[in-house]
Symmetry: C2
Subunit: 294 residues, 2 copies
């Protein structure tokens, strides 16, 4: 069975093998295998987000192992949950795969999704497996607010400071190295497997964050959404290009009231000003971002 | 803009236009446009399920309008929620689409998803839009149990009766007609746009259902999962082939204790017996189902 494919084991054979590899979690009240899963939502509200990863657009099988793709797919969603100030509880995964996809690839993908979920105490609770010419992985993450208000993009106010938790630019630098032929090293690994600062989501919420988001398209692009949603001007301290425009590190950026204590693990990188929605760097215009259809 | 494509308006342009067409719901505490949505989960548990639809496998653009694909994608997930005895509250939608997909197609898909969700009081709360050579639609549905226990596939007991709510075989008959060149008629519409009996999920739960599932792969195939999970033999009354094997109608089938009143909208179609897990028809072996990689 070492060379088995999805076609060899069939839809139900593949699902059974995937389920065998999953882990539980106290949040999982009914796991995979039924029409739907049941997940604890003690807060009485559930936070939910979906990201889709496509082979050749978001990952390459010759650049990343299946395990790393699973880690990254889970991370991009769980970072969105953290960016609301919430704690991840569950993942649901849709896999659209060519019939000749090696069985081992699907199972290692599962292991990656499982291991990233475990980092926040979440678990894979359900999903779907279908046939497709293009390899597409869709992940939905659920989370719990533990009684806190969700931190949206629209609450930044003039006088706030902009704080960052996590790394920026490393994933983009790693992708540049992969494109140039490098296959090993810290930056390459940072591209293959981002390490979002999940715990800092709730920490920044408790510290009084007025707005928060994760950095998936680049700091300037993502803060642009905050500036527009909040109706404020955000001015960042001077920084290099990759720091400003590199996406996919899934760092968390938040605004805190000027007088608030900046929690350990976060650092000030700019200020919120009154004015037309814009993001500037040391007062100068800046551009950067990523559009999937451009 | 009548001939505009996803590429013409860009990722954020497309997302903005999609969000413009969505409806709200009392369950939606924070809708699309942030890192994640926030949905009411008054029960303290959330029911969650994911289905993926692939062009050429689950739908054809020359057979179904974008609106109908949206209705069907929402229906297949909301039926899974109903099959747990729950009420749908929210949908999240991942769209992986070629850059030349007409903008109008994406927007009509959105309308279909929205209108099917409205039938159960749910709403589209979030999603993702990415570029892909293959058109793939991934839908996650969330639901609330309103204090009831979830109805799984594993609770059927000897002495129970098997009851059906909704139609069977019509979607498969309609697909046969489409394959033969027919493009209009009731059965063709039943394939394009199934009408699951959503309300019967909670009704059957309240009637004492011991097990329940929706019919997506065919009555015999889906009851096979119940037979295995419950460790029982299910014997169905005599019926025609299409009734037994036709999938995608998303009817609900449940087992009720022998003495329970069968609620209006459901009818008895078989019995649960002791014995090795199996599904028979009038005591005779039966086969039927659908495997996505076979």
């Amino acid at each position: 069975m070492a060379d088995a494919t999805a076609r060899d084991v069939g839809e139900f054979g593949l699902i059974a093998r995937v389920i065998d590899r999953l882990a539980g979690s106290p949040s999982v009240l009914l796991g995979p295998g039924d029409d739907a899963a049941v997940v604890a939502a003690p807060d009485g509200r559930v936070v939910a987000t979906t990201d889709v990863l496509v082979e050749g657009v978001h990952f390459r099988r010759d650049w990343s192992s299946a395990y790393d793709v699973g880690r990254k797919a889970a991370a991009s969603n769980l970072a969105d949950i953290a960016a609301m100030g919430a704690r991840g509880t569950a993942l649901l995964v849709g896999l659209a795969a060519p019939a000749d996809l090696p069985l081992a690839w699907s199972l290692e993908l599962t292991d990656g999704l499982r291991d990233e979920a475990v980092l926040v105490g979440a678990a894979v609770v359900g999903g779907d497996v279908v046939r497709s010419d293009t390899l597409v992985i869709s992940v939905t993450a659920l989370g719990d607010l533990d009684g806190r208000d969700p931190i949206t993009r629209s609450g930044a106010r003039p006088g706030d400071v902009v704080v960052l938790a996590g790394e920026l630019g490393r994933s983009a630098a790693g992708m540049g190295l992969l494109e140039a032929g490098t296959r090993e090293g810290e930056l390459v690994d940072a591209h293959r497997r981002p390490t979002p600062p999940y715990d800092m989501g709730p920490v920044l919420a408790l510290a009084g964050a007025t707005a928060m988001c994760d950095i998936s398209d680049g700091l300037v692009a993502d803060l642009g959404h905050v500036a527009r949603a909040s109706g404020v001007h955000i001015d960042l301290d001077a920084a290099d290009e990759l720091f400003l425009t590199g996406g996919e590190d899934h760092a968390l950026v938040a605004t805190l009231p000027g007088g608030a204590a900046v929690p350990e693990g976060a650092r000030v990188i700019g200020r919120v000003l009154a004015g037309e929605p814009a993001v500037t760097v040391a007062g100068q215009p800046s551009r950067g971002g990523w559009d999937h259809f451009a």
